[in-house]
Symmetry: C2
């Protein structure tokens, strides 16, 4: 096979040297992988990727995911060389996403080129990567999204969606469990629109992968049901392009292309060593590498004449034609299928469908009540028929989390081979919590509203993607049931204690623990319009009374995070605050105290972060600073409640792990009883 | 092949019916898997397991791990039938671990038979399982421990350690990423002493595994380098025992035995369905199953005559002989190798080696100082030569976490095939954080002191095993470096915010964030004697000044969690408190304020939970309730600090994600400057 043309080589070496120079100037970063993978990345972008640099928002663009996010200079160099345009507030600007100057500002304060690629920060970056394995999971979500969009919107003669998802991953990704889970899922779902390019350089931070990673990756992926190809030399462009063509042609299975590369390719001493991985090469090695590339040795950030043009002639021209053809197709489609076109426009703009909330139920007062997981399932099923692109599922727990969409036609998302349809709205993630979160981020990045569910304790298995939803401002909805020792018999391995604190402490996440069925309804009403951040719903396994809202304040107060549910005449002597299942407990205590003549207020506090976002005046109206008699009740770790009870208030919480027993007995054992609340409340009221 | 004998079948059906009855009486639990896997579990225990029910602490016993912890009635039935003795405070009692009455108390308050098997709660349970995949990871750690112990203690003619580890796992385990990571690790390490028995019943909670899990598990495990066997019928005892023999004979690779089973075997309607998985069968199905087994249909918890005896004749007699032989061997060994025998006794009793702390360095004052990751690496390397069974490593980050043991002979734990030795003390976990934690729990359960390390942000990838260390009281040491925005250029994906709060909120975990090199030394001095709980060390990437302890209070105050580092004459007007890298920042502010005549105190607060464990008098002496002028400074989420600053104090913390830039610039950007501390301190002091 012929090697790369001189022009190709010039482009490839430009990517390599820009990457080396960027890292060197920052005195921080990872030069080795961009040098190793410049050729395949170039070949993919320049000759294959269906991508229009002039419109990085084009809905049917191929997706490029750099799961090896530490190799960020690779994608920044490509974005610059390809001339990807900038985007602001959902609009493409007539300005480049990155300039040469931006590359020189790599890893500097407020630059466009942060250490790891960040979605929304740099146009052309499709997802935030760096935590290994996440890009792999995201890419499976993106491929699922394509299948779903194609199923819903494609019509005869109108192949609106047929994009392909390409992921560059490395040895680290291959070792991470989340990528394994995602790969198994992709194989099951037969995602023929997905290609992972595995940079097998056999070098990790501690040295050769021989010290920890000697499995047969090809065989493993064949076990997952993948199509596996191998390219023996990362610099062999024809071989790599042939593999890409094979991958595209295989529409019934995802493809893994194992590319053997030399980390730090071209560096005279550091090539092929861990020293090329995570630190600048140093002046001498850089000069040596540039010499090997036939580059001016002492010039930094050198872009030879013609390189930018050549990208425009290749990727630029191909992408422009493809996106124009698609836009023409879409215009015709909009005439033929105006409703679907309008729906697609809503999806792409993050607009909620009209009337999405019209069937949300109102719950009658009921002392026995229902579990919030149950009411949430009902509310979800009341919304979803009116919200066609709300899709999701569970990590093999939907009968318990009540997240299955049960209305006619909801269907399961499955490949035809498993007698299903890619138009199904119920996703079955299997017992793979971590991949579930990561996949939902990928689905969400396509504009589809994704939810996923599991037991709250297993949020521990999927914390990284929850954090990334927040960092990327993705409105993934996390539904976590079995929220406390109320789980009962399953015992301490299944009873969350610290998980609420964890989620509340995570920036950019809205955590809501509703106290009854009507708060659940309000929670959904609140969550869905929040399209710029993830939400977490924390729900009970056990029944909770449905409060009589003719007696207590309306549940609409939930939107403010905390609200006065029941009050005294005049300034209260003590404020009882609680969330979730403990709200009805403090309401019971309130009724007793009120009958005794104690001046008591009940604050339902389903969401701390919604409350903290309120003006101080509102917060002080709910929790008047002058009232220091305060009791907080929550069946979770006490961390954080001091903020609301102060140095002298009382917190009734869990101070260790739970136990296995019927829930009612656990509540007694751990002191979540009306009597316990009364005792603390009386002490606090006595301070007044 | 002949089927099971009548006597065998009686035992197997006793396991099945006890399991069904236990779940039914509790009205909660998972009957289907015990019914399906009773035959293989029986065959393993009765005919193969090298286990002495009369001495469940026998060091060379084979380990049985029930990774499918929801099938807890399976192991409880076995423990009861085998007559495993009880253990209390490390001593075997002359009483059974479980009685028939205990089985009847399944999942009841304070019973010996909680919903999922709990280590230390029920003798015979080797590790706490339930969160799927964890038992798989633990078992890899146990197998590593055996290899290490054998390498260290076995001598010609004295094969002290040659135990085998058996793990029962299910479809859920196979789907969990942590198990994938652990399997890849076990394959690399060539753990021929490990056998996983995979219960392939093709039923998960949402229904057939066809909806989510259709990979070729055999091929996947062959890719990992495992020896894979298949048993087509879980009830075919000869076939299963032949597979176990094959597994034992294959000493160069771990073995996966895929056992095809029918969940709820014998139940007339629910067998083979998801209905048999997670809820009681109901009276009718139980009667039907009992009829199918030839059992008295209306008798519960029925143990036919002879069954208990038969277990004693099989497992009991074999185990007694084996453990006696081993004890004789050990007695002879102790004469020949008294020092090694004494060391082994220390390991098994959790005693620290004499003089383990004698070389811990003291650091001279140094304004430039060193990173706490660096001083921690030095302290670790000063302790480890004197603590021969302290072993550990990193998830491919040891050059960054500084956890490599560098002294002569420390070595890498590797199989001979990779030119290493199982006596090595540096473990290479690869980029597999989750398995790393789970493996360390397994190593720790063997009495070996295990540590592991990574970046603090990636503690998110391994939260479940950290929690399980705490639940099991295992003294695993978690070393997390790169603790804040001090990470700098790597940016927000790599900068922890909420992780400190998460770890502090987790029950039973001691989290320490030392403020300088001498606090690091004290942290290690504090951690190692705490043999009943995990510890987490939080360390900086960047240099921190080494405080002059002739000017400021001694670092030994760390042991109390918080201590007065610098003080005013008389009652202070304001208390500045901080942890880690922010300690030197508040010390600088202190010096300025002191020079201005402000009465100010500095409290170094490296460990909240150690502080909370102090008597109130001490806590009040450090943070006098009368002093309400308080400023807390920490480059992390503010959650929890309100406890120490009260409703009117100030918290300088992170209120969102970090950014990518040199660390010094980030500190300015996010307000971690002496000026910012001074401004808040002056405001607070003005209140006095």
């Amino acid at each position: 096979a012929a090697g790369p043309s001189a022009q190709d080589l010039l482009c490839i070496n430009t990517i390599r040297t820009l990457s080396m120079d960027g890292v060197q100037k920052a005195n921080s970063g990872h030069p080795g992988t961009p040098m190793a993978m410049a050729a395949p990345a170039y070949a993919l972008w320049q000759n294959v990727l269906n991508y229009d640099p002039a419109d990085p928002l084009w809905p049917n663009r191929d997706r490029f995911v750099l799961s090896i996010g530490h190799a960020s200079m690779l994608i920044y160099s490509l974005i610059y060389l390809a001339g990807v345009r900038d985007v602001k507030h959902g609009t493409v600007l007539d300005a480049p996403s990155l300039t040469l100057e931006d590359l020189k500002q790599f890893r500097q304060l407020d630059s466009r080129t942060p250490g790891h690629p960040e979605y929304h920060h740099t146009a052309g970056v499709e997802t935030t990567t760096g935590p290994l394995g996440q890009g792999c999971g995201n890419s499976v979500g993106m491929a699922i999204a394509e299948k779903w969009l194609a199923n819903r919107f494609n019509k005869p003669g109108f192949p609106l969606f047929d994009y392909h998802v390409y992921t560059f991953c490395g040895d680290g990704d291959m070792m991470e469990g989340v990528a394994s889970e995602a790969a198994s899922t992709a194989g099951h779902l037969r995602l023929g629109n997905l290609t992972w390019v595995y940079d097998s350089n056999r070098i990790s931070i501690e040295g050769s992968t021989d010290i920890a990673f000697t499995e047969n990756v090809q065989k493993r992926f064949e076990g997952y049901g993948w199509h596996v190809l191998e390219v023996k030399d990362a610099n062999d462009l024809p071989a790599f392009q042939a593999a890409l063509a094979d991958a595209k042609a295989e529409t019934g299975r995802p493809t893994l292309i194992i590319v053997h590369s030399v980390i730090g390719w071209g560096a005279p001493k550091k090539a092929g060593t861990a020293a090329a991985h995570g630190e600048p090469l140093g002046g001498e090695e850089i000069r040596g590498a540039k010499k090997a590339y036939g580059w001016p040795e002492d010039q930094s950030f050198f872009v030879p004449d013609g390189v930018l043009d050549y990208f425009q002639q290749g990727l630029g021209a191909r992408g422009a034609a493809a996106s124009k053809a698609w836009k023409d197709l879409y215009a015709a489609y909009a005439k033929e299928y105006p409703e679907l076109a309008a729906e697609l426009a809503d999806i792409l703009s993050g607009t909620l469908p009209a009337g999405w909330d019209k069937d949300i139920p109102v719950y009658e007062a009921n002392p026995k009540g229902i579990a919030t997981r149950q009411s949430s399932g009902e509310v979800l099923n009341a919304i979803a028929p009116n919200f066609p692109w709300l899709i999701g599922g569970s990590a093999d727990l939907s009968p318990s989390t009540k997240t299955n969409l049960t209305f006619q036609g909801a269907g399961s998302f499955q490949p035809p081979e498993w007698n299903g349809s890619y138009g199904g709205r119920n996703l079955h993630f299997g017992v793979r919590e971590h991949a579930m979160g990561s996949i939902c981020n990928g689905i969400s990045l396509a504009g589809i509203r994704a939810y996923c569910s599991g037991f709250l304790i297993f949020s521990d298995y999927m914390k990284p993607p929850i954090r990334l939803s927040a960092l990327m401002n993705q409105p993934v909805i996390y539904i976590f049931t079995h929220d406390s020792i109320g789980v009962g018999e399953d015992g301490p391995t299944h009873q969350p204690i610290e998980q609420l604190a964890q989620l509340r402490a995570t920036p950019g996440v809205t955590t809501i623990r509703p106290g009854d069925a009507n708060e659940v309804a309000e929670a959904w009403r609140t969550i869905l319009p929040m399209t710029g951040r993830p939400s977490v719903l924390i729900l009970s396994r056990q029944n909770l009374p449905t409060l009589d809202r003719t007696v207590y304040a309306p549940a609409s107060g939930l939107a403010k995070g905390a609200y006065v549910l029941a009050d005294s005449d005049g300034t209260p002597d003590v404020i009882l605050m609680a969330t979730g299942s403990e709200v009805s407990l403090v309401v019971q205590a309130y009724e007793t105290l009120k009958a005794e003549g104690v001046k008591v207020r009940v604050v339902s506090m389903p969401s701390w972060d919604l409350f903290e976002a309120q003006p101080k005046a509102y917060r002080d109206s709910v929790l008047p600073p002058s009232v220091t008699g305060r009791v907080a009740v929550e069946m979770a770790a006490p961390m954080g409640w001091d903020r609301y009870v102060g140095l002298t208030g009382a917190i009734i919480a869990m101070h260790g792990f739970g136990a296995s027993a019927p829930a009612g007995e656990l509540l007694k054992k751990f002191g979540f009883t009306v009597d316990a609340v009364l005792a603390e409340a009386r002490k606090q009221a006595a301070k007044a």
